[in-house]
């Protein structure tokens, strides 16, 4: 009898410790790892961009076709003034679980940054650095600024966060369903989970491309407002 009680209490202590450790892992450690991973991604992008020469003028034959995005590699950096001045996240190609641990993920089938169509990006709302924690605070008119190393793209939010179901893939269509956009354009879609710690729904925000400027012309005003 004593042995059974002892074994049971040891099992309880072990389970409790395991759960505690797991909570520490999810709430704290994934954030630490995401911080290190995104710093690495931002560094890689900065070095890559520093190495390439920004074309001062387009050649007469038109710009060369852009390099296709590489799965899991960084392609842009996103800034959202509403989320704070220090909010700076790399956007990587693809939305696989491993990719989303290192930054935001661009839906591969959707348009390239700044192109006609819909540039759709997914990000964690909680855990792994909480990048999209404040998505519900976005309001129409808010700026979402991205750079690919040669151009600044300023998008403006058009809708309040829209709640939908996970299977609603129409929200990342070139002309997103339920967005209110009537025709083709240069759109941006953010997707994250809803409710905050759950997975029953998704939260969607749409924006349209408002302005572009070459990086040589300096930071867009939207970043400092």
């Amino acid at each position: 009898m004593r042995l059974v009680v002892k074994a049971f209490s040891e099992a309880c202590i072990t389970t409790g410790t395991l759960i505690l450790l797991f909570v520490v892992y999810v709430l704290h450690w994934t954030g630490v790892q995401a911080g290190a991973a995104t710093d690495g991604q931002l560094d890689t992008l900065q070095r890559q961009w520093a190495g390439q020469d920004v074309p001062a003028r387009q050649p007469a034959a038109g710009p060369p076709p852009p390099k296709p995005y590489e799965d899991g590699k960084g392609l842009a950096v996103m800034y959202v003034p509403r989320f704070g001045k220090d909010w700076e996240w790399p956007v990587l190609e693809g939305t696989r679980t491993a990719t989303l641990k290192k930054g935001l993920g661009h839906y591969t089938p959707t348009a390239r940054l700044g192109e006609r169509g819909n540039f759709a990006v997914a990000g964690h709302r909680r855990t792994h650095g909480d990048p999209f924690k404040d998505v519900p605070r976005l309001r129409p008119g808010d700026a979402i600024v991205l750079t690919d190393g040669t151009t600044w793209f300023t998008y403006r939010v058009d809708t309040k966060p829209y709640r939908t179901v996970p299977t609603d893939i129409g929200v990342i269509d070139p002309v997103p369903r339920a967005s209110g956009y009537a025709g083709p354009g240069r759109y941006l879609t953010l997707t994250t989970c809803e409710p905050e710690w759950g997975s029953s729904h998704r939260l969607i925000v749409w924006a349209h491309l408002d302005a572009t400027r070459p990086v040589t012309a300096g930071r867009p005003e939207a970043l400092d407002s």
Binding site: T95, R125, R126, T127, P166, R202
Partner: protein
């Protein structure tokens, strides 16, 4: 279980304590490095995409 491990560790109490500490750290390392990253996607925090699945 813990009593059994303690009795079967070699050396005096100090060596046993040190070995236990190293063992505990090793377990935590394995959990954080392999077990938790495997278990976490099974929880709902990772579902942030619309994918029709």
């Amino acid at each position: 279980m813990y009593g059994w491990i303690w009795r079967h560790l070699p050396g005096n109490a100090w060596v046993k304590a040190l070995t236990s500490l190293v063992l505990a750290l090793a377990v935590v390392y394995v959990l954080f490095q392999y077990v938790f990253p495997w278990a976490e996607p099974l929880l709902p925090f990772n579902d942030v995409t619309v994918d029709g699945q």
